[in-house]
């Protein structure tokens, strides 16, 4: 098991190398001049000599006029020193930016994941245990809607209703402007509030977290629920569940210990696969509710063609992918004893 983890982790540098290279090549292929983008233009034809001078100066300042391979080489040598370069969109080191924007996103993703599991698993079990009956049919209709409606649309409409009309959801950001932020330790405001014992801030932070986390959690939760339902239906028809019932076990034991314990195994893989679409949704949601996270940052870096910023975001996301996949594999071995044995624990 330890070897398995080490082997996976040792692949990480290669993944990063590959990802940064691809980012560089792709950004080179985009027919937009970064210097022009920096100025807010979109690759205009620069006839004006003064303007051309500014562009030249910018190119020299950021090194955008050098050949791509040279820039990539410089980037890599800096990378070994833990330096991701300067973000042209904030004029700060990318690492400083990331340290600020990554924790809020982790906070949001974790909260959404928790909500998704809390919603999805019981819902799936419930629907499966009533297969073909009223509530199951209702579940099918609602879940089909929930996973086919575009998230950005849902996020905007939901925000208009829950914030704009009903006033249930908190406004944009992580905290109200009148709430004094707790000292930044983890930069996850909920955690920081707890650390600082600032209960007013905690309440406000949770209030702000609720809407994006519940919206994301519901959408992903319905996706989970559909998987859980179909796996549960299969498990409930299995011989081992019949054996469990034949022992006279209680319904909850049969459903959860015997049924769900098996149905959850494919769920692990699928939630790993869902991670990609979760990230996409997070970027959208962050933009809608003004969450100061990685998604917002990525959005700004992309629109301003901030090459270092984009490369930094890509690196974080690839790291996250590697970690999630590792976690999926580890969870898998915990959940399925047949796999555990094959790996020579």
């Amino acid at each position: 098991m330890r070897w398995f983890i080490l082997r996976r982790l040792s692949l990480m540098p290669f993944v990063l190398l590959g990802m940064t290279f691809i980012t560089f090549v792709v950004s080179q292929l985009i027919p937009i001049d970064p210097a022009a983008a920096y100025l807010g233009g979109r690759g205009a034809v620069h006839t004006d000599e003064a303007e051309q001078n500014i562009l030249n100066a910018l190119n020299a300042r950021w090194g955008w006029d050098r050949p791509i391979l040279e820039r990539y080489w410089i980037y890599l040598t800096n990378l070994t020193k833990g330096d991701l370069g300067e973000a042209s969109n904030t004029l700060r080191p990318v690492t400083t930016d990331l340290a600020k924007v990554v924790p809020p996103t982790i906070e949001l993703v974790l909260a959404a994941m928790l909500a998704a599991l809390a919603i999805g698993i019981p819902l799936g079990v419930f629907a499966a245990s009533r297969k073909g009956r009223f509530w199951d049919e209702g579940f099918k209709v609602v879940s089909t809607l929930a996973i086919s409606v575009p998230v950005f649309w849902l996020a905007i409409v939901g925000f208009t209703i829950f914030y704009g009309r009903l006033g249930w959801a908190a406004g944009p950001g992580q905290l109200d402007i009148f709430t004094r932020a707790p000292p930044a330790v983890t930069r996850m405001v909920v955690l920081d509030s707890i650390i600082a014992r600032r209960w007013d801030a905690l309440w406000d932070a949770l209030h702000h977290l609720a809407y994006p986390a519940l919206l994301l959690g519901t959408v992903i939760g319905f996706y989970f629920a559909r998987v859980v339902r179909s796996e549960m239906v299969e498990a409930l028809e299995s011989d081992y569940v019949r054996t469990a019932r034949g022992k006279g076990l209680k319904r909850s034991l049969v459903l959860y210990r015997h049924g769900l314990r098996n149905a959850i195994i494919p769920m692990i893989t699928l939630s790993g696969l869902a991670f990609g679409s979760l990230l996409t949704s997070v970027i959208v949601i962050e933009h809608v509710v003004g969450w100061p996270g990685l998604g917002e940052y990525a959005f700004r870096a992309a629109t301003r063609l901030d090459l270092n910023g984009i490369a930094g975001v890509v690196m974080v996301i690839s790291l996250a992918y590697v970690m999630v996949n590792l976690a999926v594999d580890l969870l898998y071995t915990v959940a399925d004893p047949r796999v555990r044995e094959g790996m020579g624990t």
């Binding site: 081992y240 569940v241 019949r242 314990r261 098996n262």
Partner: protein
């Protein structure tokens, strides 16, 4: 009609004289409402005496499992069960699901057909054993675990104390079936349903498992319904045999009679499909033709299309269970059902004291089909 004698192999159950019925099944039918409507069990009735060992024999698909598991309603939601199932004077068919939970495991233990799928792959043997101990005897977790280990040892799993923390996939088929048996007998049920307990196992293991079942049931005076498609399995274990075909009981006899003078052409055919040691080569003849499609109603005897003894009445009227002498005369003398019943002194069904019964208009003559003796 003489009372059933000791079975041919001599190692019968020791319960002796027939006792009061533990289980009385009346007109049990099971219909699966799947894409097609399948009537897997078609109105069967029988009694099992307390402590009796009875065989239920029939081809694959004849409704043995459906009929046995329906006793405790262990069938899918889309299966409809009709009839009466009296266990110790309580009609199981009228119990709620919650009430049935106290009967399952506790009063009725089940050993399933396929030990490779009947255990939960993600739970240890210990967990699966302990949960049944705790469910029915309300002991503390520690005591239940000790009891589980003792049980596993008692069914002959080698190294039980260690192997108890294994997962099912680490067990051989025979060991899995032993674990399933341990779970089934743990609450000391009054009735043990053994649904083809050896079909999925190696020949060498089969005899051991049968012996184990016989030991455990005799030890506690447990009633056993031993289901098999192989007549040889019941020899030496059960006192009586019920032969099932197409969801009905077509013959009921003492085990001896089934071997020496079968009273139904289907039983005769089953004998021919047994491997015979007295021939040079072991030959496995299967019965020609196919059993009827259970999703279609049949007029007449369901065995008629495959039967060489078929007469005119067979395709017109379904024969009821009757005594053999009555059966021999019924067709010849044109008796209708009422007269048949009168002749037999009522509608007959298999039970501890019942005579040899057959559902056939033209039962084989005594000599035919008996093994060479």
């Amino acid at each position: 009609m003489k009372s059933p004698a000791a079975d041919p192999a001599g190692a019968a159950d020791t319960s002796g004289a027939p006792a009061a019925p533990l289980l009385s099944v009346r007109d049990l039918s099971v219909t699966f409402h799947a894409h097609a409507e399948v009537r897997a069990v078609n109105g069967i009735s029988y009694d099992l005496g307390a402590g009796e060992h009875v065989g239920l024999v029939g081809e694959s698909g004849s409704g043995k499992s459906a009929g046995a598991l329906a006793l405790v309603r262990l069938v899918p939601d889309y299966a409809e069960i009709e009839g009466q199932v009296m266990l110790d004077g309580v009609d199981l068919a009228r119990l709620t699901e919650r009430e049935l939970r106290d009967v399952r495991g506790r009063r009725v233990g089940i050993v399933y057909q396929d030990p490779f799928s009947s255990l939960n792959p993600v739970l240890t043997i210990e967990k699966q054993l302990t949960e049944v101990v705790r469910r029915h005897s309300r002991v503390r977790a520690g005591k239940a675990r000790a009891e589980a280990a003792r049980l596993l040892e008692s069914v002959g799993v080698p190294n039980a104390a260690e192997r108890i923390s294994d997962y099912p996939h680490q067990y051989s088929g025979g060991m899995r079936q032993r674990a399933v048996i341990a779970m089934a007998v743990s609450p000391r049920p009054a009735l043990l349903i053994a649904d083809e307990p050896t079909t999925a196992l190696d020949v060498t293991v089969q005899a051991q498992i049968l012996e184990l079942l016989q030991d455990l049931t005799s030890e506690h005076g447990t009633t056993m319904l031993l289901i098999t498609h192989d007549l040889a399995v019941v020899a030496g274990i059960t006192r009586r045999v019920m032969v099932m075909y197409a969801g009905r009981i077509v013959e009921a006899s003492s085990t001896e009679d089934v071997f020496t003078r079968p009273a139904h052409p289907y039983t005769v055919a089953l004998h021919r499909s047994l491997p015979r040691i007295d021939e040079r080569r072991e030959r496995l003849m299967t019965i020609e033709g196919q059993p009827p499609d259970p999703s279609r109603p049949i007029a007449g005897c369901p065995f008629a299309p495959r039967c060489s003894a078929r007469i005119d009445r067979c395709t017109m009227e379904d024969p009821p269970l009757m005594t053999v002498p009555t059966a021999r005369r019924a067709a010849a003398e044109g008796w209708d059902r009422r007269m048949i019943r009168e002749q037999d002194g009522g509608a007959l069904f298999p039970g501890p004291a019942a005579p040899q019964l057959t559902a056939c208009w033209n039962p084989p003559p005594p000599a035919e089909g008996s093994p060479d003796e």
